[in-house]
């Protein structure tokens, strides 16, 4: 079989695969709706409807944090969701993005936009290193999860130990005039929260677009084939090692973006805030809650998890209570809704179909996001 022959057959398979899943425009349409909503969301926070306003529950700050974790989770999803190689150490990439940006800014006065790209590239290379080491020796399952965790912890302790890397006290973000002209877009620093919101929203749009493009391309088909059955994928000639590396490289790059934003949004970063164990979980949680391997899932998941834990933190004056909620959520979602939050509308419709008045139309609505 010639090369071109194989390509055309693969394209055909991809088309079939895609149409089998859903209409090609379904996911982009839903995403466009979501991003449209997010675009106006901070502007309607202070509007009162029937005496209530969203602003009394969530602030722009909470929205920013939600989008940060959505972006990071979208990055995690490209590797762990698409290829099924469960990473428990994405804090490594998040931290490298954050540190790359701040370190270059503090020591070389490099513009954070450039520093972010360099940090993300370094994170990507670190991801490739992890990938080469682990996939070459075919670590899977628990072993891979523990190995990625070890690589993240390794960075945490390395940054903690060496004062050249900031040590345990980390870095303060300098004022814009020490490296640029003034506050503003070029300096990646603002006096208000709202510009930050639109920047992280922009990041999320880019990451989501790339993630969707990957998923709907032949690359995505290969990645999902690896997830479903790696040996079978290898048997039909997919170079699984190479594609797993592509997955981890892209994933690390985008997770590092979220970290870079984190570094510019908060005044200070320390190894214990960007590399710690809980960061690993906060990165993967939105994807798990929303729906692993889906493009919409990480965004929806972030909006389920983060505001809830914020509200729990603000409304109950007990230290640690929000983490109880967080833990219960983790356990509950995995036990009772392993398909994630994006399956909830369909399940609701199914329940209505089973118990509600009209039994007939229930099966026609099973056309959700893939």
């Amino acid at each position: 079989m010639s090369n071109a022959d194989v390509s055309s057959r693969l394209d055909q398979a991809r088309r079939q695969y895609r149409t089998f899943q859903s209409k090609w425009y379904a996911t982009p349409a839903i995403l466009a709706g979501i991003f449209g909503l997010l675009l106006v969301l901070p502007l309607v926070l202070d509007l009162y409807f029937f005496g209530f306003s969203l602003g009394s529950w969530i602030s722009v700050h909470v929205l920013v944090i939600t989008l940060v974790w959505a972006t990071a989770a979208q990055g995690w999803n490209v590797m762990s969701g698409y290829t099924g190689q469960f990473s428990f150490g994405h804090a490594a990439f998040f931290g490298l993005g954050a540190y790359g940006t701040i370190l270059l800014l503090n020591t070389a006065g490099l513009n954070p936009w450039l520093g972010m790209l360099i940090g993300a590239t370094v994170a990507s290379l670190y991801g490739l290193l992890i990938g080469v080491l682990c996939f070459r020796y075919d670590l899977r399952g628990h072993y891979f999860a523990l190995a990625t965790l070890a690589f993240a912890e390794l960075l945490r302790h390395t940054f903690n130990t060496f004062s050249q890397l900031g040590g345990a006290s980390g870095y303060f973000k300098p004022l814009p005039r020490s490296y640029g002209a003034e506050f503003g877009f070029a300096a990646f620093q603002f006096r208000e929260t709202l510009p930050y919101y639109y920047i992280i929203l922009g990041f999320l749009v880019v990451v989501t677009a790339v993630s969707l493009a990957i998923k709907q391309s032949r690359l995505g088909l290969y990645l999902f084939a690896i997830r479903e059955d790696e040996s079978a994928a290898a048997a039909v000639g997919i170079p699984t090692f190479r594609y797993k590396l592509v997955g981890i490289g892209v994933s690390a790059f985008f997770t590092a973006w979220a970290g870079a934003f984190w570094a510019m949004y908060f005044d200070t970063i320390r190894p214990d805030t960007v590399y710690e164990l809980l960061v690993n979980v906060e990165i993967l949680l939105p994807a798990i809650v929303g729906g692993v391997g889906t493009v919409i899932g990480p965004i929806v998941g972030a909006f389920v998890v983060i505001p809830l834990s914020e509200v729990a933190r603000q409304s109950v004056d007990i230290t640690g209570f929000d983490r109880v909620i967080y833990g219960l959520l983790l356990v509950g979602i995995v036990l009772y809704s392993p398909q994630g939050a994006i399956s909830w509308p369909r399940r609701a419709v199914e329940l209505l179909g089973a118990y509600g008045p009209s039994k007939r139309n229930a099966s026609a609505t099973a056309d959700d996001d893939e």
């Binding site: 469960f86 523990l146 965790l149 302790h157 995995v334």
Partner: protein, 315 residues
């Protein structure tokens, strides 16, 4: 959110030793012997922590992320019963073990049992959630302040080597626990059933072993061992709600190092990590010892993923 892994209190006298010989290029024999003693004492505790983890890992193929939190529950059980009711710490240790066995069985029956066949990461996430709940419950009940039994057990000196008595007792209890568990696994019918399940779950089912029952017993015993490991720690160290984390991360290293499901492997791995911890803390700056532990871990993971003494129980 305030987690920290650097809170495994260094063995107190190491700091003094370090300043004493900072200018000496070579290590004096007496210092080496002292460090060796500390390494064995710490390595024994590490081995005990890894024991429950490796058992659950080997039999059920589940990473119990809540292991460290269960240790913390054990620590606070001992501290609380000792300070609130004046119970002697040695007497409250069995209490912690029994309590944690019950918690383990309960956790397994309510959560783990229904997702035994789900993808592996699901168990990881669930046990992580349980860890958050347990740690936060401890935090809410007892605050985040460090607590101490204030036993002041002192130490004995043998051939110029100081052995803190609290740690010595802890090590002795660990050793007896290992022996008891080993005898239980080797000599009893139930132990044989557990080992059979670890070897091959399907085959175990075919020969009539009640695997779900083995699962909850294993999880209970694993949790009880975590409780025991936690219970001996207040004998020689201040406790706080986050203390379990540092032990947990190193316990993962030990379990993979020694080979999952391998008991001698857990002890060997514990000793190795104990050595690297003590000697690394002496010779390397900052948390250089922890970096070394992870480097060894990654090396072993890559070169011999089945662990140093692994091979009995395969994935």
């Amino acid at each position: 959110m305030g987690f920290s892994f650097d809170s495994v209190a260094a063995l107190p006298s190491i700091g003094g030793l370090a300043t004493e010989s900072a200018t000496v290029a070579f290590i004096q024999p007496s210092t080496a012997l002292q460090l060796l003693a500390f390494a064995v004492l710490l390595g024994g505790i590490y081995g005990l922590v890894a024991l429950g983890l490796t058992m659950i890992f080997g039999v059920m193929d589940v990473i119990n992320f809540a292991h460290g939190a269960m240790m913390v529950v054990g620590m606070y059980t001992v501290w609380w019963t000792a300070t609130a009711f004046g119970l002697h710490p040695i007497l409250s240790i069995p209490l912690a073990v029994l309590g944690l066995f019950a918690i383990g069985v309960l956790v397994h029956l309510t959560t783990i049992s229904s997702i035994m066949d789900a993808p592996q990461e699901n168990q990881l996430i669930v046990t992580f959630g349980i860890m958050l709940i347990l740690i936060s419950a401890i935090e809410i009940t007892f605050s985040t302040d460090p607590q101490s039994l204030g036993l002041g057990l002192g130490s004995v000196a043998i051939a110029g080597v100081f052995l803190p008595l609290g740690q010595l007792y802890a090590l002795l209890i660990s050793i007896s626990a290992v022996v008891v568990v080993w005898l239980f696994l080797q000599r009893t019918q139930l132990g044989r059933a557990i080992r059979g399940t670890a070897d091959d779950r399907t085959a175990a089912q075919y020969v009539g072993i009640n695997v779900p029952r083995i699962d909850y017993l294993t999880f209970g015993i694993g949790a009880a061992l975590a409780g025991l490991a936690g219970a001996v720690i207040p004998l020689f160290q201040q406790i706080n709600p986050y203390l379990g984390d540092s032990y947990l991360i190193n316990a993962f290293v030990i379990v993979v190092l020694g080979g999952l499901g391998s008991f001698p492997g857990a002890l060997l791995g514990g000793l190795i990590v104990g050595f690297v911890h003590v000697f690394g803390q002496y010779f390397l700056p900052g948390s250089g010892y922890q970096i070394s532990i992870f480097l060894i871990f990654i090396l072993v993971l890559l070169l011999k993923p089945e662990g140093l003494l692994g091979g009995g129980v395969s994935e």
